[in-house]
Symmetry: C2
Subunit: 254 residues, 2 copies
DNA sequence: TCATCTTTGTGCACGCGTTCACAAAGACAT
DNA sequence: ATGTCTTTGTGAACGCGTGCACAAAGATGA
């Protein structure tokens, strides 16, 4: 999961727990699917199954929004779609800028899920002058120099960073200075932002590494003998460099 | 964040808490950067700052791996890089297949972070016959028909799904049947898998929606009067149907 | 009106994760 | 050796999130 990285200690925003907020989009997706099939009502049990969660959890989540269900019947699909959309702020238009139009940035620009739900790609920004003017996903890429203008002219408050790691913090700083207060970061770096700015990160390689951990565990469940970590004891300085295998890994991702 | 979605209730794998495992890649990245600058040792305070976490948390995390620090000095960078790499299973080679070579799949194939850390793109698979044979990121795309062969021949245990939502579950089933036990899902769907299979999902639009929620909250922070969640107490029936905002949505339960 | 049946909404208990705060451990100087 | 200083490793307290289990609420039918 991309992890929110804000120092807000326990931001129970307006009483809605963060964990619940993170699940609302899931419910919304399931409800939208039901709505398209013209299903009028669902029980917490059915909806929970569709969203892949526990039904008690779902009911408790909805209870934070208010009492929108009818006992003995369930929840009205259309009504709930509206309530969750409103709660998430999807009834309004959110202009978004994507900075860094490489492979990933271009893929994001083309991603349908963007446009669908209140999010509108207001601009694509790249530092490469050669990219300027080139259309990606039907939108002309603009140069980084224009960043501040774009943010202000369009009232953008959400920025997506898809640049290489080295440029991310700098881009982030400029976005924030220009007025952006929410950032979705795809660059493999920890971003530092002032209070009041939300950052969520999506990190490919972290996800893979977590999977690898579990995978290794499954594989070695029978034949593992731990190999006793080279006693961390007596180690003067840069003494024993090298693990049992001999050499250390290569390099880091860009 | 992409959220792990496995029904393992509390898989304290080998005693290492899930939350800690999720942070290890973060530490590893910071440590690798230090290593490249030939920094010999770091204190928990410094490393924690670089990784964007609390130092006490970092120390506790490391304590699950063993006692790798030296009191009064800190941690040996190279040694720790090795230990974490080993713990995460990055000292071995993980062949990975990417299924669904659209915009996103292609971007993933080109992503540097893949190759760098023990992960090797073993094959690119797509259902479109027109894609077959076409090279993406220097690898020829293969047709879905080959999926089972590819998995078995290469001993692939990690699969990445970057297909449209509609195809995801089916692809997932085939991957699992062929022997894949870890899946990274980019398709906006809830995947159902048998026990023993790990699924992590990365969902663009969910991340954006969570940001929108907080963004909306910030925007309305001054003009909002809280309106206290409709007192769960006295509410006759379908009485107060209307959000704090005042207006009523489309429909209501009969 | 009353009885029955379904499904919500929630009180409660439990466990994981986070953080504080401090004692133990080692480095280093004298 | 002994003392001082730094930094680790962890015991303990706390808070959030989860899930059970049940009472309350409403629908439905006689």
């Amino acid at each position: 999961m991309a992890t929110g990285r804000t120092h807000r200690p326990a931001t129970r925003s307006r009483g809605i727990p963060e964990a619940t907020v993170a699940r609302l989009p899931l419910y919304l997706r399931a409800l939208t699917a039901l709505s398209e099939r013209s299903v009028p009502t669902v029980s917490s049990e059915e909806l929970a199954a569709a969203a892949g969660v526990n039904s008690a959890k779902l009911r408790k989540d909805f209870s934070y929004l208010g009492s929108y269900g009818t006992r003995g019947v369930g929840y009205d699909v259309e009504y709930l779609v509206y309530q969750i959309s409103r709660e998430l702020g999807l009834t309004q238009d959110w202009p978004v800028v994507i900075v860094g139009i490489g492979n990933l940035g271009a893929a994001l620009a083309n991603y349908g899920g963007f446009a669908s739900r209140g999010f509108r790609v207001a601009a694509l920004i790249d530092a490469d002058p050669a990219m300027a003017g080139k259309p990606v996903a039907g939108i002309a890429v603009q140069h980084t120099d224009e960043l501040e203008h774009i943010i202000e002219d369009n009232g953008v408050s959400i920025g997506v960073i898809a640049t290489p790691a080295g440029a991310a913090q700098q881009v982030c700083d400029r976005l924030v200075a220009a007025g952006v207060t929410s950032i979705l970061n795809f660059a493999p770096t920890v971003l530092t932002v002032p209070d009041g700015v939300d950052v969520r990160k999506v990190d490919l390689s972290i996800e893979l590494q977590i999977l690898a951990f579990h995978e290794q565990r499954k594989a070695g469940e029978d034949s593992v003998q731990d190999s006793g970590p080279p006693a961390p004891a007596a180690r003067t300085a840069a003494a024993d460099r090298k693990g049992p295998d001999g050499d250390v890994p290569a390099v880091m991702p860009a």
